[in-house]
């Protein structure tokens, strides 16, 4: 079993206090330390709310500076966001490895029967990183390959990532993807390139806020029944 190298990043935090106080950077400190900092008014209250790590330490993650806010009613499914993302960050056009996801829900939504997609409601969800306060992708990584950058954003260190997929499994929203070509994990870094070129303004890069990051509905209230389950529909009409 490989050592959980995440703990190597855990320290007193003293050497990171500067970025700590600017709500940037990443530190792990003891619960008592965080509690006292909160009590002294030196930390926002969210800090104390973060869960414990697998090592029994309390994790403190500085709040990210930005998050993508999406509106699926405005999304027209061109998927230029996915190409723009990978062109900017990987130097290639590779939607399957993009850090924002449209194409996988474009036809049928999140799952068959969701009532979504171009075949049904003509809505699908733009899926983008929630920039969680408690980043399970990061805590789950057995190689310490997901670190926090100066903007409080968790980024994948390609040199450390082995593509095990622990981050994918850990993320409640299935956001990280393992690039099938490089075998490395990919996740959003809040660069905003996708939003900058969205032809419908369906994506915005906003100052981080602790609310749902969608400015519109996110699911179909009353999904229509699946065509495949309606046996009297033959050749495009209700004729037997």
């Amino acid at each position: 079993m490989k050592e959980n190298t995440t703990t190597e990043l855990v320290g007193s935090g003293a050497d990171r206090l500067e970025s700590f106080f600017t709500r940037r950077g990443f530190v792990k400190v003891s619960g008592a330390f965080v509690a006292s900092m909160v009590a002294l008014g030196l930390l926002p209250e969210e800090a104390a709310a973060a869960p414990t790590s697998s090592m029994g330490d309390l994790d403190y993650y500085a709040t990210p500076s930005h998050v993508l806010k999406v509106n699926r009613a405005r999304c027209t499914g061109c998927q230029r966001c996915e190409m723009a993302c990978t062109l900017a960050l990987d130097g290639v056009s590779q939607p399957a490895a993009a850090r924002i996801h449209v194409h996988d829900g474009y036809q049928y939504g999140k799952e068959l029967g969701s009532g979504d997609g171009i075949f049904y409601s003509m809505e699908w969800t733009i899926r983008a990183c929630y920039m969680c306060k408690t980043a399970l992708c990061q805590t789950a990584c057995p190689h310490g390959a997901i670190t926090t950058n100066d903007n409080g954003v968790r980024v994948v260190d390609e040199d450390k990532c082995v593509g095990c997929g622990a981050c994918v499994t850990a993320c409640p929203y299935d956001m990280p993807v393992i690039n099938t070509v490089t075998g490395k994990s990919r996740k959003c870094v809040a660069c905003g390139r996708c939003a900058a070129q969205c032809p419908n303004g369906a994506i915005e890069l906003i100052e981080w806020e602790d609310v749902s990051h969608s400015s519109g509905p996110t699911r179909q209230e009353n999904p229509y029944p699946l065509v495949g389950e309606q046996q009297d529909f033959v050749g495009g009409g209700k004729v037997a």
Binding site: A84, G91, Q107, I118, P199, G237
Partner: protein, 751 residues
């Protein structure tokens, strides 16, 4: 720049898959040798058809192939790079010659991401199968469970099996039943037509399912992004690259009611989830509102469609968004399909093509605007044909249904019981289009003996002859433009001779939009004439609508340019419904477009330095290759295989263009009527521009040599189809590189 060791070569995936359905053999082969000369897409597909399918092959023979191909720009991030092209033998035009079937949707990009530039389907299976491409894994799978199903149900079943992100390109009942008018559908409403569905049906190939997780590697990703941003900010307009809004707006110097830049204040995606979304007044230099410019539902269907409009959508990678997304409860009730909507013909099959002939009551207001009932008619037919995988030959099917009904021809051939089921009375008099489902299902069933209406699905070449109504070709109402069986696709009504000429060159309707985009872009004619002089050498290259002048060499240049740009886009692959960038919405650049963009994107993506003239030459090569292939497979007047007399056998425009408007002379204001001697001159000038034989219109030895097609010259010589002469390439060629550079100061590639 990402390394090629990890991500592969720039632009092209570098390989094409080959699946033989007779033997079950599956292989991949390098396409590197074709890249320089044939680019990709239509070029690859036509080269493979020329090399591998013998002249005279029947469309439904196992020796016929269906070749799907994409190009270096497909899926690369270049705007409007989501298209793909197929080539196979025509099922519905004379002599079964090579035709191209282009489609958008998700197919092209997904194929590219699977690591393939193409797929060659050859042979024929004896039981229903589909081809599964899952990145490198290619297999032939049993399709018996989906055989007989519509395209929607098939897509749903195969996505359930292989993943919701899979792109399913499938035939419907029409293709299975070998109806010549059958197409291949992907992503609900994107169709590759020209009988391709029947070809796949003859191979018992129900579908091609593609999953792709790989990358398109690009040599200069920053330049691809910068050029895209520049293009979207100030060069790109709306659908058909219309560059002015359709209503007067404070920011716009011009407006034109015909423009497809239809967004305006007070016009909404009214059925949007969570409440109406206003299209508003999207302007140039606003990249985040580009996708609202083309409000296609109300443009196509009339104002009543607004309340059913959920949003727009369209092909992969395109910021224009020209596909209406409609939710009409009446359509759901009748067809079972919640969503509908399209762009162009399948969006308005009744209101634009049948209503003028059938004149159904309740479909137009007194002012001539489409009614709410009209929306129902159009969308019901749209959903039905798409699910049946039934193609319309660019609306010919609709004109033919309307005309044969109206003239009593259908009643002569169908039984009274069938006519009762088709219930045209309800369609024409009662505002009820639901019997179209029966009509279209019967056509798709292709049982001509029992259900004669299916003969309309063979195309006018067949039904007009069988039912003795060849006069339909000579009736302007038919819109048939060539006696080999295809209708107008922006013909003489689009710059007179120019449109007429490019309607002749393929073996189906042309699908060329380079000229009609310019015609409809919304800029005033005086400005367009200035622009024409810059691009095609003289203001005389264009005339005002319905005010045409006799043929001249600049019109020939414009026709040549329209053809090669279209072919180029189908090679690269880019959408010719919007490209080329001949004009722009930004006043700051005097509305000039940027003709070098294809070449600059090509260089950014592939890393190879190239000019637009090099690309035009490659496109000319592809056009001439198809022309040579046509010469091999075309029958002469005596029925002998092999014919190079294009002027008298192939490029024969229908009579009505000379006889319409009997009281008006050609070249007077108010008509687009053509004049016979002038038309002969027009053909001669176009032939010369391509370096073809000035009399016959076939590629000459010199022309083929100029284009590096010496092997093709040898083939034609052996068949006795080669002539000599024709203008040399240098003599006939006008240079286009940089002609608009004075207006392109913001172009990042020029920085």
């Amino acid at each position: 720049m990402a390394d090629t060791a990890t991500y592969g070569s720039y632009g092209w995936a570098g390989q094409i898959a080959r699946v033989n359905l007779t033997t079950g053999d599956i292989s991949v082969e390098s396409d590197e040798a074709m890249q320089q000369d044939y680019i990709g897409g239509m070029g690859f597909a036509n080269k493979i058809m020329y090399d591998e399918v013998p002249a005279g092959t029947a469309w439904d023979a196992p020796e016929n192939k269906a070749v799907l191909a994409v190009g270096p720009l497909t899926g690369s991030g270049v705007p409007l790079g989501g298209r793909s092209t197929w080539a196979t033998l025509s099922t519905f035009t004379t002599d079964y010659l090579v035709v191209d079937a282009h489609c958008g949707g998700q197919l092209g990009a997904t194929l590219k991401y699977s690591g393939h530039d193409g797929l060659i389907i050859e042979g024929a299976s004896d039981k229903p199968v589909y081809i599964l491409i899952d990145d490198d894994k290619i297999s032939i799978e049993d399709a018996s469970a989906v055989w007989g199903k519509g395209t929607r149900e098939t897509t749903e079943a195969l996505c359930k099996k292989h993943g919701l992100e899979a792109c399913v390109a499938t035939i419907g009942p029409a293709g299975e039943n070998l109806l010549p008018y059958a197409c291949v559908m992907n992503t609900r409403s994107h169709s590759a037509g020209a009988g391709l569905g029947a070809v796949l049906g003859s191979k018992k190939c129900k579908a091609v399912v593609v999953k792709g997780t790989k990358a398109v590697n690009v040599a200069d990703p920053q330049m691809v992004a910068d050029l895209s941003d520049y293009m979207i900010a100030q060069v790109l307009g709306s659908n058909n690259n219309h560059v002015v809004p359709s209503t007067q707006q404070s920011w716009a110097e011009y407006y034109d009611s015909g423009s497809r830049w239809t967004a305006r204040k007070g016009l909404y995606w009214a059925a949007a989830e969570g409440g109406p979304i206003e299209t508003g007044e999207p302007k140039p230099f606003e990249p985040n509102t580009m996708g609202y410019r083309c409000m296609k539902s109300t443009k196509d269907l009339g104002p009543e469609a607004e309340k059913y409009t959920v949003k727009m959508a369209g092909c992969h990678g395109c910021p224009v968004r020209c596909y209406s997304q409609i939710q009409d409860p009446r359509v759901y009730e009748a067809t079972g399909y919640q969503s509908s909507g399209n762009t162009c013909v399948p969006n308005f099959p009744f209101s634009s093509y049948m209503q003028p002939i059938m004149k159904a009551t309740g479909l137009k207001t007194e002012e001539g605007t489409n009614t709410d009932t009209s929306v129902f008619y159009d969308q019901l037919i749209s959903n039905t044909v798409d699910d049946l995988g039934l193609w319309c030959n660019y609306a010919q099917l609709y004109r033919d249904i309307a005309w044969t009904y109206t003239k009593g021809i259908l009643a002569e051939h169908c039984t009274p019981e069938q006519m009762a089921e088709y219930n045209f009375d309800a369609i024409v008099n009662n505002g009820d289009p639901t019997s179209f489902i029966k009509i279209l299902c019967d056509i798709a069933e292709n049982d001509v003996e029992k259900k004669p209406i299916a003969l309309l699905g063979y195309g006018p070449m067949v039904w007009c002859r069988e039912w003795d109504h060849m006069e339909w070709f000579d009736n302007a109402t038919s819109c048939l433009i060539n006696y080999r069986g295809w209708p107008v696709h922006h013909a003489i009504e689009c710059f007179g001779q120019t449109g007429g000429l490019y309607n002749m060159v393929f073996n189906r309707d042309d699908m060329i939009h380079s000229a009609v985009n310019f015609q409809g872009c919304g800029l005033p004619i005086d400005l367009k004439k200035e622009m024409a002089a810059e691009m095609w050498g003289s203001e005389d290259a264009i005339d005002p609508n319905n005010d045409y002048t006799p043929m001249n060499e600049y019109k020939a240049e414009f026709a040549w340019w329209s053809i090669v740009t279209d072919v180029l886009h189908d090679c690269l692959t880019l959408c010719n419904w919007v490209w080329p960038m001949a004009m722009a919405p930004a006043k700051e650049r005097s509305y000039r477009g940027d003709l070098d963009l294809e070449a600059q994107f090509y260089t950014a993506v592939t890393g190879q330095e190239i000019t637009i003239d090099d690309l035009y030459k490659a496109a000319e090569r592809v056009m001439t290759l198809q022309r040579a292939n046509t010469a091999r497979g075309m029958k002469d007047a005596d029925g002998n295989l092999g014919c190079n007399d294009f002027r008298n056998v192939h490029d024969v425009i229908t009579e009505w263009v000379f006889t319409k408007d009997p009281d008006i002379e050609p070249f007077t204001k108010g008509t687009n009527k053509m004049e016979r001697e002038d038309w002969k001159t027009a053909l001669t000038m176009m032939y010369e521009r391509f370096g073809w034989d000035a009399e016959l219109g076939c590629p000459t030895k010199e022309c083929l040599t100029d284009l590096g097609l010496d092997d093709v010259a040898s083939d034609l010589e052996e068949l006795g189809l080669l002539t000599e002469g024709g203008k040399s390439y240098d003599e006939r060629t006008r240079k286009y590189a940089g002609v608009l550079a004075d207006y392109c100061g913001d172009n990042p590639a020029l920085a």
